[in-house]
C-alpha cells in the first residue's frame, strides 16, 4: 500500500510539535525560577544566616535564626494538634465509618482542604488572637494545624484502606481487642504510607505564609513565650522581599533557598517512604 504524507499526517506532526512546545513553555519559567533561587540564594547565604537574627535597616549582615527556630516550633506545635486529629479521625472513617456521617466527614475534609489559607488565618485570629489580646505563636500553630488536618486525614485514610481485612481478622481471631488491633496491626502495617502523608503535610505548612500574617505576626527578635509574636521563615521572606533594601533582599533569597532545600528534602523522604514495599 502506497502512503503519501497526507494532510492528516502533517496535522499529526504539527499537533505533536505544539504539545512539545507547551511542555517547554511550562518548564522554562519554572526552570528560570529555580536557577534564580539557587544562584541568588547561594551567593547570599552564609553561616550568619543560621546563627544571627535580622539586623536593623542600614546595617549589613544578619540572618534568620529566629525565623528558623520559630518555624520549627510552630510546625512542631501544629503537628501535635493536627496529627492525632487527622490520624485517629481517619481510623474512624476506615474502621467504623461505613455510614452517611463518615461521608459527611470526608466531604468536609475536602472542603476544608480547599479553603484559602488566608481564611484559616482570619478564623484563628478571631478565635485566639482577639480573646488572648495579642498575636501569638500559639495562634499561628492552630492556623497551620487547620491546614494540616484535612491533608493528614485523607492520606491516612487512603493508606488504611490498603491494609487487607484479613490482617485485622487474624488479629481479632487471636482474641486481641479491636482497639489494640487497630493500633498495633492496622496502623502499624500502614506506617510507611502514613509517614509519607505526614511529611507532605509538613512540607506544605512549612511554606505557608498567609495564615501566619495575623496570627504569629512575625518578630524581629527572639520570642521567649508561645503567647508572644513569633518569627517564621516564610514571613521573613515576605517582609524582606517587599522592603526597599538590598541587604534584606539578599536575606530573602537565602531564606528562599533554605526553604526550598527543606521542602525538597521532605518530599524526597516522602518518596522514599512511599516506595517501601507493603503487603506483598
Amino acid at each position: 500500500m502506497k502512503r503519501t504524507p497526507s494532510i492528516r499526517l502533517i496535522k499529526n506532526g504539527l499537533m505533536t510539535l505544539l504539545m512539545v512546545a507547551a511542555t517547554l513553555a511550562v518548564l522554562a519559567p519554572l526552570g528560570i525560577i529555580f536557577v534564580h533561587i539557587l544562584k541568588m540564594g547561594a551567593s547570599s547565604i552564609s553561616l550568619d544566616f543560621f546563627t544571627q537574627i535580622p539586623k536593623p535597616t542600614g546595617e549589613t549582615g544578619g540572618g534568620m535564626a529566629n525565623g528558623l527556630a520559630g518555624s520549627t516550633i510552630m510546625i512542631a506545635m501544629s503537628s501535635l494538634i493536627g496529627l492525632p486529629v487527622g490520624i485517629l479521625g481517619a481510623v474512624y472513617l476506615t474502621e467504623y465509618g461505613h455510614n452517611r456521617f463518615a461521608d459527611a466527614i470526608r466531604f468536609s475534609a475536602d472542603v476544608l482542604a480547599g479553603v484559602p489559607s488566608i481564611i484559616t488565618g482570619m478564623v484563628a485570629y478571631t478565635l485566639l488572637v482577639v480573646p488572648m489580646k495579642g498575636f501569638s505563636a500559639l495562634a499561628g500553630a492552630v492556623a497551620l494545624a487547620l491546614i494540616m488536618i484535612p491533608i493528614v486525614l485523607r492520606t491516612t485514610e487512603e493508606q488504611l484502606k490498603l491494609v487487607p481485612g484479613t490482617l485485622r481478622e487474624a488479629s481479632l481471631a487471636l482474641g486481641v481487642p479491636l482497639w489494640r488491633t487497630t493500633l498495633q496491626v492496622t496502623l502499624a502495617s500502614a506506617r510507611t504510607g502514613i509517614i509519607t502523608g505526614i511529611l507532605l503535610a509538613i512540607a506544605r505548612i512549612a511554606g505557608e505564609t498567609a495564615p501566619l500574617l495575623f496570627t504569629a505576626l512575625g518578630n524581629q527578635f527572639w520570642s521567649r513565650k508561645l503567647t508572644e509574636p513569633m518569627a517564621a521563615i516564610p514571613l521573613q521572606i515576605f517582609n524582606f522581599a517587599i522592603a526597599p533594601y538590598e541587604d534584606w533582599h539578599k536575606l530573602a533569597w537565602a531564606g528562599a533557598l533554605v526553604l526550598v532545600v527543606i521542602m525538597f528534602s521532605l518530599s524526597l523522604a516522602a518518596r522514599y517512604f512511599g516506595r517501601q514495599k507493603r503487603y506483598s
Binding site: 504539545m19 479521625g89 488566608i118 486525614l153
Partner: protein
C-alpha cells in the same frame, strides 16, 4: 467486588466487636472508648468547618448590616474615611484569575498529553515529577521571584514593547510600572500550571486503554486518537482540573500581593496596578483602623470563602465523574 468484600469484612468486624461486648462486658470498654475517641476526632473536622463559617458570618454581620449589597458595587476604598467599596477587589480577583486560567489551560493540557501519550515513558515520568516538585514550591517564593526578577523585567522589556506596538489597544496603555495586573496574571499562570497539569494527567490515565486502541484500530493518527477518543472522554475531568485551578488562583494570596501593586482601582489597562480580595485582607487585616474596617475585611473574606467553596465542590464532582466509577459510563 473489592469494595463489597471490604464492606462485608468491616460489617463482620463490627458484629464481632458487638458479640465480644455482649459476652464479656468488662473487656469491651476499651473498644467502646476507642470508638468514641476516633469518632470525636473525626467529628471535629465537621465542627471546624461549622465554626469557621459561623465566625466568618458573625464577624462580617456589622458590615453587612451597614452597607448591604451596595458594598459589592462601591468603587471607593478609604478606611480612614470609612468608605468601603469592594468592587476594585472583586474586579481584580476575577480579571487576574480568569486571564491566568485562559493562558494556563492550553499549556497544561498540552503538557499533560505530552506526559501521558507522546513522550517516552521515562521522559514523561521525569517531566511529571518535575512538575509535581514545582507545584510544592511555596507561593511566597514565587512572589519573591515575581517582585525582584519578573516585575523589573516586565517594566524594562515587556511593557515598553507592548506600549510601543500595541498601545492602540486600551489593554496596553499607560506607563510601565512593573508591578501590575499583568505581573499578577503571569505569576498566577506559572503557579497554577503544575496543579492543572497533574490533575489532567491523572484524569487522562484513567481513560480506558480500549478507548485508545479502538481509535488506532480504525486507522487514526495519534492526534486523531487524542482528539476523538481521549479528550472527549476526559473532558469533564479536565474541566474539573481547570476549575480547581481557578479556585486556587482566586484564593492565592502571597504571590499576588507581592506583584499586583496593591492599588484599589479599576483600570482597563493590564499594565496598571490593581488589587485582589486576598491581597487587601493580607495587607490591612493586622492593622485595621476601626471595628467596621475589620468587619468589612471579614465580609470580603466571607465572599472569598463562599466563592472558593462553590468552585471547589464543582471541581471535585467533575473530577470524580471521570476518575471514579467510570466503568458504568458509555465507552
Amino acid at each position: 467486588m473489592e469494595i463489597t468484600k471490604t464492606m462485608t469484612s468491616a460489617m463482620d468486624r463490627e458484629t464481632a466487636a458487638a458479640k465480644t461486648a455482649f459476652i464479656s462486658g468488662n473487656k469491651a470498654w476499651g473498644d467502646r472508648l476507642f470508638r468514641w475517641l476516633t469518632l470525636g476526632f473525626s467529628a471535629s473536622i465537621l465542627l471546624i468547618l461549622l465554626i469557621m463559617a459561623f465566625e466568618m458570618i458573625k464577624e462580617s454581620l456589622p458590615a453587612i448590616r451597614k452597607f448591604g449589597w451596595g458594598f459589592t458595587i462601591g468603587k471607593d476604598w478609604d478606611p480612614v474615611q470609612e468608605q468601603f467599596g469592594a468592587l476594585p477587589f472583586l474586579y481584580g480577583s476575577v480579571v487576574s484569575s480568569i486571564l491566568a486560567i485562559l493562558m494556563a489551560t492550553p499549556l497544561s493540557v498540552g503538557t499533560a498529553l505530552f506526559i501521558t501519550d507522546i513522550a517516552p515513558k521515562k521522559l514523561g515520568g521525569a517531566v511529571s515529577s518535575l512538575v509535581e516538585l514545582l507545584a510544592a514550591i511555596p507561593s511566597v517564593i514565587y512572589g519573591l521571584w515575581g517582585v525582584l526578577v519578573m516585575a523589573p523585567w516586565l517594566q524594562k522589556t515587556v511593557q515598553p514593547f507592548l506600549i510601543d506596538h500595541f498601545g492602540f489597544i486600551p489593554l496596553f496603555q499607560g506607563a510601565p510600572y512593573g508591578v501590575s495586573m499583568l505581573a499578577a496574571i503571569f505569576i498566577l499562570m506559572i503557579m497554577i500550571v503544575p496543579i492543572i497539569t497533574s490533575i489532567t494527567k491523572e484524569v487522562l490515565t484513567a481513560v480506558p486503554t480500549a478507548q485508545k486502541e479502538a481509535a488506532y484500530a480504525l486507522g487514526a493518527t495519534r492526534w486523531e486518537m487524542l482528539r476523538v477518543a481521549l479528550l472527549p472522554y476526559a473532558r469533564s475531568g479536565i474541566l474539573g482540573a481547570v476549575i480547581l485551578g481557578l479556585g486556587r488562583a482566586i484564593g492565592e494570596t502571597m504571590a499576588v500581593t507581592m506583584v499586583i501593586g496593591n492599588t484599589p482601582q479599576i483600570a482597563l489597562s493590564l499594565l496598571a496596578p490593581g488589587y485582589t480580595m486576598p491581597s487587601v485582607i493580607a495587607n490591612e487585616f493586622a492593622e485595621t483602623t476601626s471595628k467596621l474596617h475589620a468587619s468589612v475585611l471579614m465580609e470580603i473574606g466571607l465572599i472569598l470563602l463562599v466563592v472558593t467553596l462553590i468552585i471547589n465542590i464543582m471541581a471535585r464532582l467533575l473530577i470524580w465523574s471521570v476518575t471514579r466509577g467510570n466503568s458504568g459510563r458509555s465507552a
